[in-house]
Symmetry: C2
Subunit: 244 residues, 2 copies
DNA sequence: ATCTTGTAGTGGTATAGACCAGTGACAGAT
DNA sequence: ATCTGTCACTGGTCTATACCACTACAAGAT
């Protein structure tokens, strides 16, 4: 049971502990309502200081996976809270987590000169090359959203050559370019679809839709992409948990 | 400049530091983009350990008020990010934080027998007494949302006697009953308004609107209220920051 | 039986130090 | 003029320890 943690590894100890506990929750070894070992027990077990354990537990509490109770043990939060725990997902991940099979039909995919608005969002000069990717998103083979995404061309030079029909864009960015989206700023609006959008989404013109604009950044606060997605209101809604 | 902190006080030092920095941001002494003093400088200034300063800064980063950059200084986040910092607000707080004057017109306010769906959301038996509060929300004197809220009658017995036209419901709950909402589960949908809703909101029938359902809980996970709000799409949108 | 009071357990706060990992600027080498 | 390495500075991680605040429970007092 010793050597649960890898001390030579570059990965911080508290993150290794975080992953271990998180996995135990995800695999069902720890269930909603269960009390987890005390911080001092974990410290002895992993042979780290209690503060290190606390860092890991803090993160799990932030994620909504654990609930602290002063004087009493820390317990695993209920699953309804977990599901919608903060954090954002790519379309692919989002659908998969709901047990739905995602797919895409690429409508447009090319490199172009950035407009003023796209340039300002991506922190580029007006006219700089950007990759434009327009996809119809399907959930279980049926249209659910229309998505237009812009990325800086210089950052992802050969992206146009990859198959984005089946593969997640985020996964491609991470695997090929080592870029990981960690922060997203979103605005959510309600709109009415026009004729063209209605045809693509296979709904009536004038139907309601959710328009979500997202600006995604990496750990260095560099903008990775700007995305506008139009979701069919009858098939999609946003779920969030907010605390204060 | 000494004795910035009160060490005899019951309030934790890191929270006192958190409040100080937060106030400096709110009052404009620290502006978006400004770099704040380094953690070691703060530690010297306040005569506390660096870890204590870090606890305060961590909380501010979580709130979305500060951005960390390893190797570089920590900076004050842009106001667009701050606004949407995690955490939810009551309608009143929400409008005030945007510099808009909120008001309400109470449409209905009475006690009734709970329906099956309301009862299940509030964790009550079907038919238990609930307070129903329906209000037209105004922003700068113009309609912006239609809100229907249910609360368990037994928990807030005399609530109906308070003036909720001018006062925040959340503030009343906290002041009168010591109940503080800390967690909210929300779902956001896009819909089309019907004739009746259109008239109240002073928009055209068939216009888009955001339908937000919220379940609010206190620190003990007890459900406080369930709210359904219909926002005019032309005057309201949701802004969020999500990280993973 | 019921009430008090330890007491041992939990998480919460705080210390003082250490070393690692990025960043940027400046001095010296080319 | 340009590259390159050093260095001082930032935040990131970690230790070992201490005491406080709250909770639960059991032993003793009533």
């Amino acid at each position: 049971m010793t050597q649960l943690l890898n001390r030579t590894h570059h990965k911080p100890l508290y993150l290794q502990i975080y992953d271990l506990i998180r996995d135990q929750i995800n695999t069902g070894q720890l269930r909603a309502g269960d009390t987890i070992p005390s911080e001092r027990e974990y410290a002895d077990l992993f042979e780290v200081s209690r503060m290190t354990v606390r860092a890991a537990v803090n993160k799990l509490v932030q994620d909504g996976l654990l609930l602290r109770n002063q004087g009493k043990a820390t317990v695993v939060a209920s699953t309804t809270i977990q599901k919608s725990a903060r954090g954002f997902k790519s379309f692919t991940e989002d659908m998969q987590s709901l047990g739905i099979v995602p797919s895409s039909r690429v409508l447009k995919m090319h490199s172009e000169m950035s407009s003023a608005s796209v340039a300002s969002q991506l922190n580029l000069k007006i006219g700089a090359r950007v990759i434009c990717l327009e996809r119809l998103r399907l959930a279980d083979e049926e249209p659910i959203a229309l998505e237009r995404c812009y990325l800086p061309h210089d950052t992802f030079p050969e992206l146009l050559e990859h198959d984005l029909t089946q593969h997640s864009l985020y996964k491609t960015l991470e695997d090929r370019y080592g870029v990981r989206p960690v922060l997203a700023e979103e605005t959510i609006e309600a709109v009415i679809v026009n004729q063209e959008e209605a045809e693509l989404l296979q709904i009536e013109k004038g139907s309601p839709a959710l328009l979500i604009r997202r600006l995604t950044k990496d750990a260095r606060q560099q903008v990775i992409e700007t995305v506008t997605t139009l979701y069919r209101a009858d098939r999609y809604r946003v779920v969030l948990v907010r605390s204060r």
